[in-house]
């Protein structure tokens, strides 16, 4: 997958945060030929390794299992002018991610083995990180016929979703949850009642009333999540709610979990960082679906992250070119890029006291890995090293012109942030590095 050589390095005195095994300690990590050989304090290389193994001092830096973004749109095949598997995975690595799960709303739709296989092949050839394709629930995302989950599984898909649009037909959602159990797929729900959301451009509330923009009520999301958890209970299927944006959604998921329903959920950095006040200048960069909500929703999302109702943070990286974004708000496409802005925003939750470092890291490592049954997200001796080294203190101003992504629809440009990825090791190879050689 990578042109780089596997590393032979002893990483000294980093703060190793591995919530999957419950460690948060200062220690060394020895990586030989790309594999994690040892983790512990003051590792002694011995005479024979001293000359062949490089030592890198990571004092003041965090070392975490490689970050996993369980919700991205890589746009290949079909919309390569927005993003490719090459550019998207470069962006992922630069943002500290060793793996991404890519949504099926490509052109053609990833609803069959051929497309899944194509994505995996391109990822092997040009990818800078692991790429896990997510298959479509329905053929062509049309909501009419089920895709062949077995064939998708065989080709390497790891979950199913119609993301980008909801499964409006409740029977279709029921069957998807039931049938996915055969293949141990989680069913990822883009929860949106299209009838309630119709024509909406932003969150429905005080700001939409003020701006005269048609609103999407939080109820469009909450009602659909309520339906989906009810169907998950009925079917014993594994349900995962994508991009949770609203306070009511957090309440419904919290209650469902308390009842023992197999539901997990993710939110995205923009939902705990921005509010619908951002739309006051009518800038389409802030147009996203589900829409940016109010301050109470942001607070509820943070509460949901803190108490574990929201398991994961995913970016919903949705690249669009100026063709889709540099237009009137009404005609602009929904979506924001996120791979290269997520890390400092996740770290900000720690600075704000919402999450402990270990909790924050869990949201982007072990939790998404467990939801998608990926062999990632925690350190294990003998395995190829997938890790992210982070400088949590580096202060800078976000500037998407420096990004690896092909698109520039970043709503955080100009924001003063802290923290970036210093090194991203994918299967023991440096997919991204700011360390001097």
């Amino acid at each position: 997958m990578l042109e780089f050589e596997a590393v032979n390095t002893l990483y000294r005195r980093g703060r190793i945060i591995d919530p999957g095994v419950g460690t948060d300690m200062t220690a060394d990590i020895l990586v030989l030929e790309g594999r994690i050989i040892d983790i512990g304090p003051e590792i002694d290389l011995g005479m024979d390794l001293q000359n062949t193994v490089k030592e890198v001092d990571l004092r003041g830096l965090w070392v975490t299992p490689g970050w996993v973004d369980m919700h991205v749109h890589l746009r290949e095949p079909g919309e390569e002018y927005k993003e490719t598997i090459a550019s998207g995975t470069r962006a992922a690595a630069a943002g500290g991610f060793v793996a991404v799960a890519c949504m099926p709303n490509t052109k053609p739709v990833n609803d069959c083995a051929a497309v899944t296989a194509f994505i995996r092949k391109r990822a092997r050839e040009e990818g800078r990180c692991h790429v896990f394709p997510v298959g479509a629930i329905s053929k062509g995302l049309k909501g009419e016929d089920l895709s062949e989950f077995g064939e998708l599984r065989e080709a390497g898909a790891i979950a199913v979703t119609d993301d980008g649009r909801p499964v409006m037909n409740s029977l279709m959602m029921r069957r998807a949850l039931e049938y996915a159990r055969n293949f141990d797929f989680p069913v990822i729900s883009h929860a949106e009642d299209l009838g309630l959301a119709v024509g909406g451009l932003m969150n429905e509330g005080r700001v939409s009333a003020m701006l005269g923009l048609r609103g999407i009520p939080a109820a469009a999301e909450v009602a659909m999540i309520q339906r989906d958890v009810t169907l998950a209970e009925l079917t014993k299927g594994r349900l995962h709610i994508a991009h949770v944006s609203a306070a009511g959604s957090v309440r419904v998921i919290r209650a469902a979990k308390a009842r023992g329903i197999a539901v997990t959920a993710e939110t995205a950095p923009h939902y705990f960082t921005l509010t619908d006040e951002s739309l006051v200048g009518f800038d389409p960069v802030f147009k996203v679906n589900p829409p940016l909500r109010g301050a109470e929703d942001v607070a509820a999302i943070k509460d949901g992250l803190a108490d574990g109702t929201l398991d994961a943070i995913a970016t919903d990286h949705a690249p669009h070119s100026v063709l889709e974004k540099d237009t009137e708000l009404e005609y602009a496409a929904n979506g924001m890029i996120g791979l290269e802005s997520a890390l400092p925003l996740v770290l900000n939750l720690v600075k704000e006291g919402v999450l402990t470092p270990s909790q924050a890291v869990a949201k982007v490592t072990i939790n998404p890995s467990r939801i998608l049954s990926l062999p990632l997200g925690r350190f294990k001796k003998g395995e190829l090293a997938n890790l992210t080294v982070i400088n949590p203190e580096t202060a800078y101003v976000m500037d998407s012109r420096t990004f690896q992504s092909k698109s520039r629809n970043c709503p955080f440009d100009g924001r003063a942030v802290q923290g970036h990825a210093v090194l991203t090791l994918v299967d023991g190879r440096p997919a991204f590095s700011r360390l001097e050689r």
Binding site: R206, S208, L329
Partner: protein
């Protein structure tokens, strides 16, 4: 210099002294419209481009007359006659129009925020002639001018806006403007046509006309769009007319000196009955007259932007 803006995009961002200044200029320019030769050379050599992406004979004509009376050169590009086709957006068109080096764009568009987007892109001044459900600042200014002519003041008045508040840029612009000028704004209409959050925006919200008509110094009646039935917002025009139509019997409960306004075009027999529209309380034709004066004031203030010493 009381008015330094490049653009006039909405009333919400204006200061009270700016509104006062526009109204003052409009009052002095109104006199020109009564002269035998209704033309002054103030904007000679300036180019005003009317960009109308939504059909509107009244507003476009009003702006066009205003521009011509100030001797500006005008071009009109309208949704029905030009190359504005589906797929070509306002921002695409702008690139071609910039070649004309216009001084002022007057834009009407069905999408909220379009005037803002245009203003961010062009060095020319932009006047918002109505954007979606967002703002219609010249309408609110001419309404304030008309109210003040009849009532002598805005401060302390109760202005009742009746109808489809949710979809109305006229209601929004008037709410911001009238509140700033010290009037109390009451909005009244069916619950489906007034967002719940409107009371957080400075309006008093009411759903029963009978309760608020006796308090009103001004009743501003909004046009009801026929497509509201398809959106499940109303069962029928007939029921709307019965419950929220302003008719003579309702008006008999109002103050004797109440004035009736309507931004036009009217659905006579739906939101307003013919005898009220043409009756003694109606100031609807004054609104039209003041529309030209207010638009002359806006073109004057923005078109003269580079020459700061200009006087009327």
């Amino acid at each position: 210099m009381p008015f330094k803006r490049k653009d006039l995009l909405g009333i919400r961002e204006l200061e009270v002294h700016e509104i006062e200044h526009i109204l003052k200029i409009a009052a002095s320019l109104k006199e020109i419209n009564t002269r035998p030769i209704k033309k002054v050379p103030t904007l000679r050599g300036k180019t005003v481009v009317h960009l109308f992406y939504e059909p509107s004979t009244r507003t476009r004509t009003s702006f066009d007359i205003a521009a011509k009376r100030l001797s500006a050169d005008t071009f009109s590009i309208s949704g029905s006659t030009s190359s504005i086709v589906k797929g070509e957006t306002m921002l695409d068109t702008l690139k071609n129009l910039e070649a004309m080096k216009p001084d002022v764009f007057v834009i009407r568009h069905s999408a909220s925020g379009t005037a803002h987007r245009l203003a961010q892109r062009t060095p020319a001044s932009v006047i918002n002639a109505g954007d979606g459900m967002h703002e219609h600042p010249s309408q609110a200014l001419l309404d304030m001018m008309t109210i003040r002519e009849h009532k002598g003041r805005l401060d302390g008045l109760t202005v009742l806006i009746v109808g489809d508040i949710a979809h109305s840029r006229v209601a929004r612009s008037n709410l911001w403007g009238l509140s700033k000028m010290g009037a109390r704004v009451v909005v009244c209409g069916p619950t489906t046509l007034i967002p719940l959050e409107f009371d957080q925006l400075g309006a008093s919200v009411c759903h029963r006309l009978e309760e608020v008509i006796p308090e009103a110094d001004v009743i501003m009646v909004l046009r009801l769009q026929k497509e509201r039935m398809q959106q499940l917002l109303l069962p029928s025009l007939r029921e709307y007319a019965v419950v929220y139509g302003i008719n003579a019997s309702r008006l008999s409960k109002a103050k004797s000196d109440v004035i009736i306004m309507h931004p036009g075009p009217m659905n006579r027999g739906v939101e307003i009955s013919p005898e009220v529209a043409d009756g003694p309380h109606s100031v609807i034709l004054d609104q039209v007259t003041n529309g030209v004066a207010v638009r002359m004031a806006l073109l004057y203030l923005l078109g003269q932007r580079q020459e700061s010493s200009g006087t009327v």
